[in-house]
Symmetry: none
Subunit: 402 residues, 2 copies
């Protein structure tokens, strides 16, 4: 088992550059009519060329059979064991709206919900109220102070919000109020460690009571549910582990947030795929590792839109010429998990990966696809090993042992 | 994860015999002109026949992406997790010259180096002085006694030497004096555990001071640098773990030394590849496990000599008839790591392996090569599992659990 201490002892800074292109939800399932997945359907001359000249394989983000969320999926790609390195739900929501969490803050994910006259939850999402309405209700709940602790309530999207608690002596191990079902009353928020978390449980409970009163006249959003109380984790940074100077190019806040947690600098990404590659080109000499995140494939997969996912992949392939033209020493293309349009959601299926470098041992794979990658020289392996392979191919790892 | 206790509980002595042939640095990278690696270029009818009748695969000595030194590479082949079972640099150098380290001895690797008038290191290798000069200087430094501790200074090759400290109460956790760079003074040797290592740090420091005086008039080797202070580790032996009576046939001292550390008996190997197989034949009835080490492939790879590596592989293949004719129950052929001539050094690429026995489940691989092994029945797996496979095929492991 390779740990960070070992990697630290053999990693070294060097002028070579690594680009990790993450096509969110890349892996798919075959369209029953054609027998081809989204990636296999797309016309991808650039990806196929990289696959033919490089080495391919399949990764398991967490483990065979496990469907990863975006956060474990990405942590694994950066070499962090996604089971030990955990980001709480509240923190994820906060970084997802670019909220500047401070050390010691406790964040929780909130839902506006609907309760009936006797207080039973009838809709956990309050009919998915508009983001405008959510913003208005967050302002109504206001930034308040309870027992000396500051509370910040911020809208996310539709019925979702974030609440951040800032003050002395706050522990995050308190239970959720969200019962995850309808027909019951919201749960009491209780301290899971009786002494340490007593204060946090009390303040969160007081907030819920205040919110109930403040929202009493609203409809359908007349109550709140909280879950995933958590603190910003302190992970060892990629700079410490790999001696890299890493940068993130991602147009969605959550991925920028995860990148920040592992010590990447976040660059202004722009909106389109083309924008992201322009950002890469502009900043290419200032960093030696680039994480580029493309969201459109996952969104299309989640919408069950097979054809749109195909089109996004083709758009990426087209923009790739820009990446290839700057000739990075190592290019890795993969995804954080599969999102087959057929399943309309993340899935457990392994994800195709290609690694292109001067020093890879090429295999016989001639195209970038799930079925071709199955016979690739990288074999099937845990995503947490990708960084080691990328570092090795960039000649940034010295020999282990004499 | 299979541990030694489990293996001990199922291993049993039996009359079957295993031969593990280690072709050092076996794996390679394709010659850009032909697209074939060293092994793929070589004409190897015997290896191909064994591959065709046996089962093939690829091993990762330490982990994908990790380039192993010879010591972790070999420990993994013998089933010892190379991250937990560590051999210090000083000990490795000592066993590399067949120095008979006793338990409690502390060994360090020394370099003769050049310092300028104010003591800054200008060449960490003293212009790579000849081995003759090194021998002469080691005699000049002499076997001395400091504070009751005996010091033995022994030449290795060129600027390299070994120093062994023998006496009561010596701990090995002291810092290196070798600064690993030029333009600075050698570092002070300090105790890393203040109490236990105080004596060792003091004696090593006194030795360095004496050496400085003794070498003052020499040029370019006018100073010494020490590093890798370590004690001979006490590993569980292969006899204890596998109930084997193992023997080593290796013409290079370091590999004999590692073999001794895991409890093998070291046989007189001779010089040539042919000699090694003659030794095997002569001793065949006295042991039930043979580790045969061939160095030439690694040396050629490190020299960047693609053609010589091909020739050494062909020479091995030729000598193999001798091995095949004695019909061992299990033959395993692999390497401790890859040494592609293109990289002129050890590398992280997985290593081809073939296992031949009456009881293997043959695959469709018809030749022994990196690209063919990719499709072998053994798949890609950690080198630490080789011994289990060899033992199983020799019918030396009973059922686990009822």
């Amino acid at each position: 088992m390779i740990n960070f201490e070992l990697i630290k002892s053999i990693s070294m800074a060097s002028p070579t550059r690594i680009v990790l292109l993450v096509i969110d939800g890349l892996g798919g399932l075959p369209n029953p009519e054609t027998g081809k997945t989204e990636l296999e359907t797309a016309n991808t001359p650039n990806l196929d060329k990289l696959a033919a000249e490089g080495i391919c394989g399949l990764i398991d983000p967490v483990s065979p059979g496990i469907t990863p969320g975006s956060s474990p999926g990405h942590l694994a790609l950066f070499g962090y064991d996604p089971v030990s390195f955990n980001i709480g739900r509240g923190v994820l929501e906060a970084i997802g709206i670019d909220y500047d969490l401070q050390l010691g803050d406790v964040a929780a994910r909130g839902n506006f919900c609907t309760v009936d006259k006797v207080g039973l939850v009838t809709d956990r999402r309050a009919g998915r109220i508009s983001t405008e309405k959510c913003t208005e209700l967050c302002q109504l709940l206001g930034d308040v102070v309870i027992d000396g602790v500051k509370l910040f309530v911020r809208p996310v999207r539709e019925h979702r919000f974030v609440i951040v608690f800032r003050g002395e002596g706050l522990a995050s191990d308190v239970s959720d109020s969200d019962p995850q079902q309808t027909g019951v009353v919201p749960r009491l928020i209780t301290a899971l460690s009786p002494e340490e978390a007593k204060k946090m449980a009390s303040i969160a409970s007081q907030f819920v009571a205040q919110a109930k009163i403040a929202l009493a006249e609203q409809h359908p959003a007349n109550m709140v549910l909280l879950r995933g109380f958590s603190k910003r984790p302190q992970f060892p940074t990629m700079g410490e582990i790999y001696k890299l100077k890493p940068a993130a190019i991602a147009s969605y806040p959550m991925y920028r947030g995860i990148a920040k947690l592992v010590g990447m600098e976040v660059l202004e990404a722009g909106i389109t795929i083309e924008d992201e590659f322009t950002t890469l080109k502009k900043n290419y000499t200032n960093y030696d590792f680039f994480f580029i995140h493309i969201k459109g494939t996952d969104s299309a997969g989640e919408d069950g839109d097979f054809d749109r996912k195909v089109r996004v992949i083709e758009e990426i392939d087209n923009a790739l010429s820009k990446l290839i033209s700057i000739e990075p020493d190592v290019i890795v293309v993969t995804g954080d998990h599969s999102t087959p349009a057929l399943l309309k959601g993340h899935s457990w299926h392994p994800v195709p990966i290609l690694l292109y470098s001067k020093w890879c041992r090429p295999d016989r794979v001639g195209e970038f696809s799930e079925s071709a990658c199955l016979f690739g020289g990288l074999g099937r392996f845990p995503a947490t090993q990708i960084m080691l392979l990328a570092m090795a191919n960039a000649l940034k790892l010295t020999k282990f042992g004499a």
